[in-house]
């Protein structure tokens, strides 16, 4: 059965590099006959598929797709959440030599049409009616589209069955093929053998902080070698379990939940729905876990809020043992020497506090956890590590098939992103920009040679667009997006991300946008975090009717102000950025939202867009106005628009030297 061809195994040392993911599927079905490859919670019950069962499901779908006319080289969109059938789609499509193109499922129709059109989609695998409707509404602009396939039956009755088919019906098409011609299975395997390691594997569209999304073409070699290296780096085996909950179209999920799972043979669990991930994680207790800093921040906020409500004894215990953890936890995790007394205290803490807490977080079995995408607050990072969770940072990009650098066990520093990953070379350009070269470096941007040439040098070096440096220990430190770093009019350095991150580390603050390039001083938009602030408001008997009302509350302004002052004090202490203290700020009347184009689908701030949209607010920040009226168009989830109007107050902050002087008087 297993017709996998061995390729140059010297490429990655001991792990076997096969030419494609369908090859790995065949291998795993042979090698891990009893192992669970995938789990999915449906109607309250976890269902499982072993590797052979997974192979059978994928093969049936793949053969059906072939019957529908899918040809090698065809692009097939995958639009949906973290459901097994969506993941099966990848291997099923690749087995035919076709190319899967995952698309952010929450993008509105206008955003989606660009990607679907640009990628010349011929088939679309959609999760449900919502996605089917979205694609059908774009049909006129997508002349190449042949057929839509949907996963969830709900509401799917009144559609043309030739054009819109259910996943099962495609699978039964596959079954019929095998009944008619038993050699179809062998032919299917022969088809897989024709796939070369240098063929295009997947096109992932970047979320695009600036301009249109770009289609990053990754080859089998890119993804397979990177996955094998990543598995080797953290000694990941078929024993791992992980939970898939991040967008399918994001390279991280593609590598963690597909690439690494197939190459290592470990199990991927799909949650019941995006809202139940917290509970599902508790039930699964993954051993390998990835989350952007936002998730860790939210979890910590929830813990803090819940502890406020706990009884006095529990609260006291929590406080005491968290102090103990702060003192000894990281040292124990790093394997440093700790006094017997410290170890004893820590193990009592583990029994009473850390253990139960980790259990609630679903992190009891975590061997390796990663965070990436944004800077994580040092305090948040240390908190999880002190509990004994091996949380590490990595630095990656879609163009690199994720891994550029990662922190090796025992060499953890909250401020760095680690050493170069296996087979990755790093170079720092004269202007401070980080460059890398690795087997994971992408083939190019789809139908955009201009962008490819400006990002990738002929020698294979890729410009990250991030400014950074390598510290004495050989770890990479990222400062900011190099093009975002600017200068104030008095010549002092203005690193917006650096300032924003400092503020975002406070639980009450969700998002910050700092301005200052080419201005006289630094000013900032602040977005409050509704979970944290609403709880605080309830505790302090502050009544509010809406987000907008809460955001404008004077007491909220006081809190934000105190945080800004702390950040200013921090900045003042660092000579390099002392000039970039925040002079004026305002609390935005609405949450920045990806539906309004203010954030990318991976929730990064789109700076230029915000400058256009809130121009009048920015001007008000650089005038002596104390408030400014603003009317903003907002987009609802179904794509319709409405308006939010507000008068936003602006506050001045006395700069730090001056306030110190006041104290002295």
């Amino acid at each position: 059965m297993n017709k996998a061809v061995e390729v140059q195994s010297d490429l990655t040392g001991n792990a076997q590099a096969l030419p494609s993911f369908p090859h790995y599927l065949l291998r795993n079905a042979e090698l891990y006959r009893e192992r669970v490859a995938m789990r999915h919670k449906d109607l309250g019950i976890w269902h499982e598929w072993t590797w052979p069962a997974l192979l059978s499901e994928i093969r049936r779908f793949s053969l059906g797709l072939q019957q529908l006319g899918a040809q090698p080289g065809d692009k097939v969109a995958i639009i949906g959440g973290n459901r097994p059938r969506m993941y099966w789609g990848f291997a099923a499509i690749q087995a035919l030599g076709a190319i899967p193109v995952p698309v952010y499922a929450d993008s509105v129709a206008e955003e989606m049409v660009y990607v679907l059109d640009h990628a010349e989609i011929r088939y679309a695998l959609c999760q449900d009616q919502e996605q089917v409707d979205k694609v059908l509404s774009l049909q006129e602009k997508l002349p190449g589209l042949q057929c839509l396939i949907y996963d969830e039956e709900r509401g799917m009755r009144a559609y043309d069955p030739d054009q819109v088919r259910s996943f099962q019906s495609v699978q039964s098409l596959g079954d019929q093929t095998v009944e008619r011609d038993p050699s179809a299975v062998a032919n299917w395997c022969d088809g897989i053998d024709r796939i070369s390691i240098d063929d295009l594997c997947v096109i992932l569209y970047t979320s695009g902080t600036t301009g249109r999304p770009k289609g990053v073409m990754l080859s089998n070699r890119n993804l397979i070698l990177t996955s094998l290296n990543a598995n080797r780096f953290d000694a990941l085996s078929e024993q791992e379990e992980t939970i898939a909950y991040l967008p399918l179209a994001w390279v991280g999920d593609h590598v963690f939940s597909y690439g690494q799972s197939y190459t290592a043979g470990y199990c991927v669990c799909c949650p019941e729905s995006p809202d139940t991930v917290t509970f599902d994680r508790l039930e699964i207790a993954p051993s390998y876990f990835f989350a952007p800093p936002r998730v860790f921040e939210n979890l910590l906020t929830a813990i803090t809020v819940n502890m406020e409500d706990a009884g006095r004894v529990k609260h006291g215990m929590f406080k005491y043992f968290i102090k103990v953890a702060n003192k000894y936890g990281e040292k124990i995790l790093n394997g440093d020497s700790v006094s017997p007394w410290g170890r004893a205290l820590y193990s009592v803490g583990n029994l009473c506090v850390y253990g139960p807490l980790k259990n609630r977080l679903g992190m009891t079995k975590v061997r390796v956890a990663y965070t990436a995408g944004e800077a994580i607050g040092p305090d948040i990072f240390r908190f999880y590590r002190s509990l004994g969770i091996n949380l590490k940072q990595l630095y990656g990009q879609t163009e690199a098939s994720v891994y550029i650098t990662a922190q090796p066990d025992g060499e953890i520093d909250a401020n760095t992103v680690g050493t170069p990953s296996i087979d990755v070379e790093i170079d720092i350009a004269d202007n401070g920009e980080v460059l890398y070269r690795s087997p994971g470096v992408f083939m190019g941007y789809y139908k955009n040679d201009e962008a490819t040439n400006s990002t990738k040098t002929p020698e294979g070096w890729v410009h990250t667009g991030d400014a950074g440096f390598i510290d004495d220990a050989g770890h990479l430190r990222i400062i900011d997006r190099s093009k975002d770093v600017g200068k104030l009019n008095d010549g002092s350095l203005f690193p917006p991300k650096y300032i924003e991150n400092k503020l975002k580390f406070f639980p009450e603050i969700k998002e910050v946008v700092a301005f200052g390039d080419g201005r006289d001083y630094v000013a900032a938009f602040v977005n409050i975090d509704l979970t944290a602030v609403a709880n605080w408001a309830e505790r302090n008997n502050i009544v509010y009717g809406s987000y907008q009302e809460l955001a404008a509350h004077p007491a909220i302004y006081d809190i934000v102000r105190s945080h800004v002052e702390k950040v200013n004090a921090d900045l003042a202490a660092e000579s390099r950025v002392a000039g970039a203290q925040i002079k004026r700020f305002l609390v935005l009347h609405k949450e920045l939202d990806a539906d309004d184009g203010e954030l990318t689908r991976t929730l990064k701030v789109r700076r230029t867009f915000i400058v256009d949209r809130y121009g009048e607010l920015i001007e008000a920040l650089y005038s002596d106005k104390q408030e400014q009226f603003v009317s903003t168009e907002v987009t609802f989830e179904d794509g319709r628009t409405g308006k939010i109007e507000a008068t936003v107050k602006i506050q001045d902050i006395v700069s730090n030297q001056a306030s110190a002087a006041q104290v002295a008087i």
Partner: protein
């Protein structure tokens, strides 16, 4: 008035739809106050029927009459071909009429799951004794009921609050749980008393979708009271309009909307 309802009834029968419930010349008084006077209309199998009217028009009283909570002084109600003068609420429930309430009426200390499970109690065959022992057939039965409840939870997209006490949930979600409990009875006729009251636009849209899907997927006949005219016009197949306990119009949303009596009742007339 009754002439209109007869024409509607004949229209319905010629269209080949069968009448599930018909209300004939019902009058309900509280002491000297006439809450409902001489009202007749019917509900066809499989349709979404809206009852609208200004405040105090007698809409909720009408629902209470249908599910047997109030007993009308005059007139009769036929349900599935059977005419009963006095139907008790439990009889209504066991013959397939479920309802939700204007103000949420859930067991606030119990979880979402338990609340919806309570809607299955009429379907449970084993007695208290067996259920308390939770062995053998009783256990098997509970598993079957739980499976049905899980379908409802999936349908209403409330998996994330499955185990949370409903008292702590936001209002919009409580309304959804209440709908879930009514659905758990597998009703033939579902009475919804202002299912969208107090909801924001997004919640209303969600609820509308659930009502439509419920109607088309589960085949449940729905009678709903609603104030939001936009919702009524989009959802309902036919609308009956009440004012001061009288029926002033009956027909498709478009017909009702252009009816002068309705316009007068809603906007007032210069006297």
């Amino acid at each position: 008035m009754s002439a209109t309802s007869e024409t509607v009834a004949t229209q319905a029968s010629t269209n080949g739809t069968s009448v599930l419930l018909s209300v004939d010349n019902v009058t309900l008084t509280f002491g000297g106050v006439k809450a409902i006077s001489d009202i007749s209309f019917n509900i066809n199998k499989g349709e979404i029927r809206a009852i609208i009217g200004p405040n105090g028009a007698g809409k909720t009283s009408m629902l209470n009459v249908i599910n047997g909570f109030y007993h009308p002084q005059k007139g009769q109600i036929s349900y599935k071909g059977k005419t009963r003068r006095r139907m008790k609420p439990y009889q209504a429930a066991s013959s397939g009429i479920a309802r939700t309430f204007q103000n949420v009426a859930l067991f606030s200390g119990m979880s979402t799951l338990d609340n919806i499970m309570s809607g299955r109690s009429l379907k449970m065959k084993r007695g208290l004794f067996w259920q308390a022992l939770h062995v053998g057939p009783a256990r098997q039965e509970e598993i079957e009921h739980r499976a049905y409840v899980e379908k409802i939870i999936d349908f209403l997209e409330i998996a994330h609050i499955r185990k949370q006490p409903v008292g702590k949930l936001p209002y919009g979600l409580q309304k959804r749980v209440e709908l879930g409990r009514a659905m758990a009875m597998e009703p033939e006729l579902l009475l919804l008393d202002e299912p969208m009251a107090g909801m924001n636009l997004e919640e209303k849209e969600d609820m509308s979708r659930f009502v439509l899907d419920l109607n088309s997927e589960f085949g449940t006949t729905i009678a709903l009271i609603e104030h939001d005219m936009g919702v009524v016009m989009d959802l309902a197949d036919r609308v009956v309009v009440l004012d001061y306990g009288q029926k002033i119009a009956d027909g498709t949303p478009a017909e009702v909307q252009s009816n002068q009596n309705v316009i007068d009742a809603y906007l007032g007339v210069a006297s």
